[in-house]
Symmetry: C2
Subunit: 433 residues, 2 copies
Amino acid sequence: MSDDSQVYISELSRHEGGHVTMRGWLHHRRSGGKLQFLVFRDGSGFMQAVVSKSDVSEEMWELTKSLTQESSIALRGEVRKDDRAPGGYELTVAEVQLYQLATDFPITPKDHGVNFLLDHRHLWLRSKRQHAILRIRNEVIRAARNFLDEQGFVGCDTPIFTPNACEGTTTLFETNYFDDKAFLSQSGQLYNEAIAMAMGKTYCFGPTFRAEKSKTRRHLIEFWMLEPEVAFHELDDTIALAEGLISAIIASVLERRRTELEVLERDVSKLESVRAPFHRMTYEQASAKLSEKNTEFVPGGDFGAADETALAEELDRPLIVTHYPANIKAFYMQPDPEREDLALCVDILAPEGYGEIVGGGQRIHDPELLERRLAEHDLPKDAFQWYLDLRQFGSVPHSGFGMGIERLVSWICKLDHLREAIPFPRMLNRLTP
Amino acid sequence: MSDDSQVYISELSRHEGGHVTMRGWLHHRRSGGKLQFLVFRDGSGFMQAVVSKSDVSEEMWELTKSLTQESSIALRGEVRKDDRAPGGYELTVAEVQLYQLATDFPITPKDHGVNFLLDHRHLWLRSKRQHAILRIRNEVIRAARNFLDEQGFVGCDTPIFTPNACEGTTTLFETNYFDDKAFLSQSGQLYNEAIAMAMGKTYCFGPTFRAEKSKTRRHLIEFWMLEPEVAFHELDDTIALAEGLISAIIASVLERRRTELEVLERDVSKLESVRAPFHRMTYEQASAKLSEKNTEFVPGGDFGAADETALAEELDRPLIVTHYPANIKAFYMQPDPEREDLALCVDILAPEGYGEIVGGGQRIHDPELLERRLAEHDLPKDAFQWYLDLRQFGSVPHSGFGMGIERLVSWICKLDHLREAIPFPRMLNRLTP
C-alpha cells in the first residue's frame, strides 16, 4: 500500500467517488456494532472513516477494533459525499494498515493542567485546538507577507546578533561572540531604517528576545515580530499602512480559516467588524478617558495592561493612540512640530482586552536632533555612528512600526495566554521541550 | 509638494503621459549644457529624469546643478515613454525639491576594499548591485513560501532558544536564561519532526547560528535556513520535494527578477537549465569520481569544499548525492535497510562551485533504534525524551531537509562570498554595523 500516492483530507472534494489511500493518525474511535467509526487526522484536517465488518477480513476487523488514540495508520477506501459529515466527505474503508499502535497517549479528552500540557507540547500540538491556532498563525503570516509584497515591499532579514541595544540593555540576552560580546535583537528597526533608505519600502519578520522577568499572559521571552519601515512615510502614512495590514490579515483569516475559527468557537462577528478606519485618539484624550474609569493610570506615564484593556475592550475595532509624551518614548521618535514635548508615535490597541498589537511612529531625520537625543539618553555616539550616517547622506522623513505576531494571533483566536500562539513557547521558567 | 501621493519607478507604466511626484535619491548626475540628466532611485528601481534649463526657474536650475550623489529629492514632472531609457520611461522634470544635500557620500563609483564596504554596509546597500541581490533574496524566499503554501504546508516557527544541541555542542552559542543556560538553535529539525506529526507537512524559516571559527567564503555565523519536514515521506519523496522547490525558486527568479540578474551580469543560461530531475549519484559513485580527480578526499570521510566543487562545478543543474556512510552523519538518520552502514540521506550540491545547498534525509522512526543511536552518540536520553516520544505515539516514516538561503542566493547571483547575500552579515570578526 505504501506505493500509492497519499491523498489529503483537504483535497477530498477532488476525489469524490474515487478510491484513495490516506495516511495519518487516529483521533477517536467509536464502535457501533458491525461498524467502526474512525475520526482520523492527517495534518490537513479531520474526517470520519467508516469500517464495516462485512467489508474487511476478520483480521482487519480485529485490528480496527484495537486501534487507540494517535495510532498511525493508512486507510484505503472510497470517498463518499455526505453532507452530515464534518468537511462534507466520508471514507468507506476497504483496507486498514497499521504503522504503530500508540499505547497510553498522555493527552486524553479529559482536562489536563497547563504545566502538564506545556511539558507535553510536542504532543499537545496534535489536538484540534492547537492545530487550529497554528494554522491561523500561518495564515496571519502568509496574509501579512502577501499584503506587503503586493505593495512593493522588499522583505529583508535584519541581524539577530547586534553589538548594541536598541532601547536600553537591562532586558537583553547576551552571548560571547568569539572575543567579543553580542546581544540578541529586540527589534530590527534600526537596521530597517538603513534598508528603507536603500529599498524604499522594507519589512523584516523574525524572532526577537526580551529577558523580562514578567509572567503575564501577554508576554513571551521569544516572540516574532513583523516590522515594516518606509522612506518618506510620515505618521499618518504609517497609521494607514498598519490599518490596511491588520484589516487585510483579518479578512484573509475570515476567508481561509473559517473551520479553524469554528473549532476555537470564536465569535467571528467580533472580527468581521474590524475594518479601516479604526478608532483614533491622542494620548491626552486617552488619559482623560482613563481618569473617568478609575484605573491605576498615572497621567504622563505609560499605559499598563489594565489601562489598555479599559481603553479598547468594548470597541468593535482596534484603537489607535497617537502623540504620547516624548519622554516616555524611545530616543529616535520624531517630535510633533506643534508640540515638541509630544512624539509622532502610534500604538494600536486590540479590542477585547488584548492590548498593544502595534507600536511605531515617525523617526527623527534631522542629524543634530538625533545626536542631541543620543546624548540625552546617555547612548554612546560611536556605536550609533552608522545610524547617524543615515541622517547625513540623503536623510528623509520615514516611519514604521512593529507588530507582535503572537499578540495578534492571541486576539484573533481569543486565547487566554500568548503561550498557545507559538509552537514552542519560551517563558520565564519554560525552556523545554 | 509633500501632499502629493508618491509614484514609484516600478509603477511608471501605469502613469505614461501623467504628471507625477516621485521621491528618492540621486544616484548620478550628468551635465549636458542646458540639460541635467539625473539618474534617480527610489528603492523600486532606477530611472532617468531630465531637467531642462528652460523649464525651471533659475533657482531650481542652480539647485539641480548642485545635487550630489545620494542627495534626497522629490521630482515632479511628466512621465514619457522612451525606449532608449533604462526601464522604458523617463521623467521630464518641472519641479525639483531638496530634502537634504549629501556631502561626501563615502561609496563612490571607484573601487573600495571589502572591509571598507562592510564597515559601511548600511550605505553600501544603496548600490545597484546590493539592491539587485537583496531583491533576488526576497524573491527566493517569496517563491519558496508560495511553493510550499500551495502544496498544503503549514509554516511553523521553531524556537531559537533550545535546552540541548541538535548535533554536538562545540559550535553552539550559549546565553544565560534566567537561572538556566540556553543554546541558540542550529536547526529547527527536531521541532519540525514534532510539528510534522501534528500538521503533516510543515516548514520553518528562521535564523540559525554556528559559532564556527571558519573564514571561508561559504560560511556565515548567522544564516537563514528553510526546513521542510513531511510525515510519511521517504527518501525519494524528500528528494522530489527539494528538486521541485529549487526548480520553482529558480523559475520565479528568472520570471520576476530579470532586471536584477542583468545588473549582476549573471549568465542566465546557467539558471535556465536548472530543471528536475537533477543529476544523481550515491556517495560511493561520488567517491569513485573524486578518486579520478585527485582532490584531497579521503574515502569514507565527508566531502570538503574542494570535493563538492569538483563533483558539481561543470554540471548544468544540481547534483544529488545519497547514501553517505552512517557514521559520518547525524544520529537521527534512517539506515538503508539493504546496507545498514549507509544512511538514507541526501545532500544537494549546486553547480559552478557553490557546494552544498540542501542537506537532509529520512529520520529514524523506530524507537529502539533511535534510543540505541542516542547512546552510541553519548547524547543524554533525558533531554531527548520528548524526541523519543515522537517514536512512541504513532510513529511514522518521515523526512525533510534544510536549505541554506544565503548559499542558494549566492549561487543564483553568482556571488564571490556569502557576505553579500544577507543585509548585515555576521562573520568571525564582523559584528558591525
